[in-house]
């Protein structure tokens, strides 16, 4: 009996999803444009800081050239921080410093988005590619000092996500996962960063 109930629930969910996906998109603010405001969770890869954090946001705006294809602009920012225990840091071949430190990496990419909407309905899954520039501020706090460096690089990020417009007032929900990398290079307190990557997800509001 319990198994039958589970199957029934799953079947109802699948039917609801299929019906929802086939419904025409009537509830978003503009059928020709999209807007997202997201909170994001970022996992740095091979970066100056390698600890995850949720200190970031993402902003997207785009316009549909055809029912499936849109171009847009984006900007996001994120701060990842990491405590590094006491160690000897070689600053140059001759100089060294022994201290603990709090490293921080602030990334701010911005640029253009090319987006392909897979289904046009209340559920709108899509794939996108973002290209642009990234400003990254590398900093290290230690004892009473701070060392930092500003870097710029080329930015690229593939993304898959979905927008869902369940309400009639034009507001919807947005979720996406992304990977990104940039050509930012820098070195602070003996720690180098070369072509850092990021993986993460973002959730927020869609208009």
């Amino acid at each position: 009996m319990k198994t039958l109930k589970q199957y029934t629930t799953r079947l109802a969910l699948v039917v609801a999803l299929v019906v929802g996906a086939c419904m025409p998109a009537k509830s978003q603010v503009s059928l020709d444009a999209y807007y997202n405001v997201d909170w994001q969770f970022n996992i740095p890869i091979n970066s100056f800081v390698n600890k995850t954090s949720g200190w970031g946001m993402n902003f997207d705006a785009g316009w549909y050239l055809t029912p499936d294809i849109a171009i847009g602009a984006f900007m996001s920012y994120h701060t990842n921080s990491e405590y590094v225990d006491r160690s000897v840091v070689n600053l140059t071949p001759q100089s060294a410093v022994y201290t603990d430190q709090q490293r921080s990496l602030y990334q701010l990419p911005f640029g253009v988005t090319a987006l392909y909407r897979i289904i046009e309905s209340d559920w709108q899954p899509y794939v996108a590619l973002k290209l642009g520039a990234e400003y990254a501020h590398m900093s290290s706090y230690y004892y009473i000092y701070k060392s930092s460096e500003d870097t710029w690089g080329f930015y690229m990020s593939p993304e898959i996500g979905v927008r869902w417009y369940p309400w009639a007032n034009g507001m919807g929900l947005h979720a996406a996962v992304y990977y990104s990398f940039s050509t930012n290079n820098g070195k602070v307190m003996g720690q180098s960063m070369e072509t850092p990557g990021n993986f993460g997800f973002r959730v927020g509001l869609a208009f």
Binding site: V29, S30, Y35, V37, W55, M57, F59, A61, M75, Y77, T79, S81, Y83, R86, V88, L91, T92, P93, Q94, S95, A96, V97, Y98, T99, D100, Q101, Q102, R103, S104, Y106, L108, H137, S139, Y141, Y142, Y143, I144, Y145, N169, G170, F207
Partner: protein
Amino acid sequence: MKKLVPMLFAAALLVTACEKTPDTSNLDDDYLVYTNYDGDADFAKFSTFFVPDSVLIIDNSSDKPKYLYGTPAADILIANYVAGMEAAGYVRTMDKASADLGLQISYVKDTYRFRYYNNYPWWYGYPWYWQFSYWGDWGGWYWPYDITYSYSTGSVLGELVDLTQPASASNNLRVVWSSYISGLLNSDGSLNTSEVTQAISQAFSQSKYLKK
């Protein structure tokens, strides 16, 4: 609603686009040890070193130099630097004229004077800094490397000078090793002797090239 969305979007951008300053409360607030050396120096060629019996005090004094002499703080600082040098294989001599290396130790008690001379090196222009004439008939100082750190109250500076070069008015005295240690004060302003021992030991530990 349609017109409001871009405005809300722009407002959200402006309000939230800022870098989060990391929490530094988990830094341990212990000492910092910085070392630098002359890459052209052959530290194995030196055998003996001489250390003055006093530690120079750097404070807001404007009329004459001050020294720590015969105090527990001076004894601890000198003893720990001497221990480090001896552990590296160098022999202490009481004859300054015959020493290969000179070791001068300074204690930054107050940064008032240094505020005005905080470029390369830290003490440039400080009137009562160690005099090169103390070590012989030299023409001036020479640091073969950049000093990139600022100073703070309670810091200790230890420097090795090369006395094997011929002293003359046309020759500058070469500083072949520098150690800068910060964060050695207790809350009452006195030197934390335990941390002095650890920090000076660390200065030698991260200077493996300093070996007879």
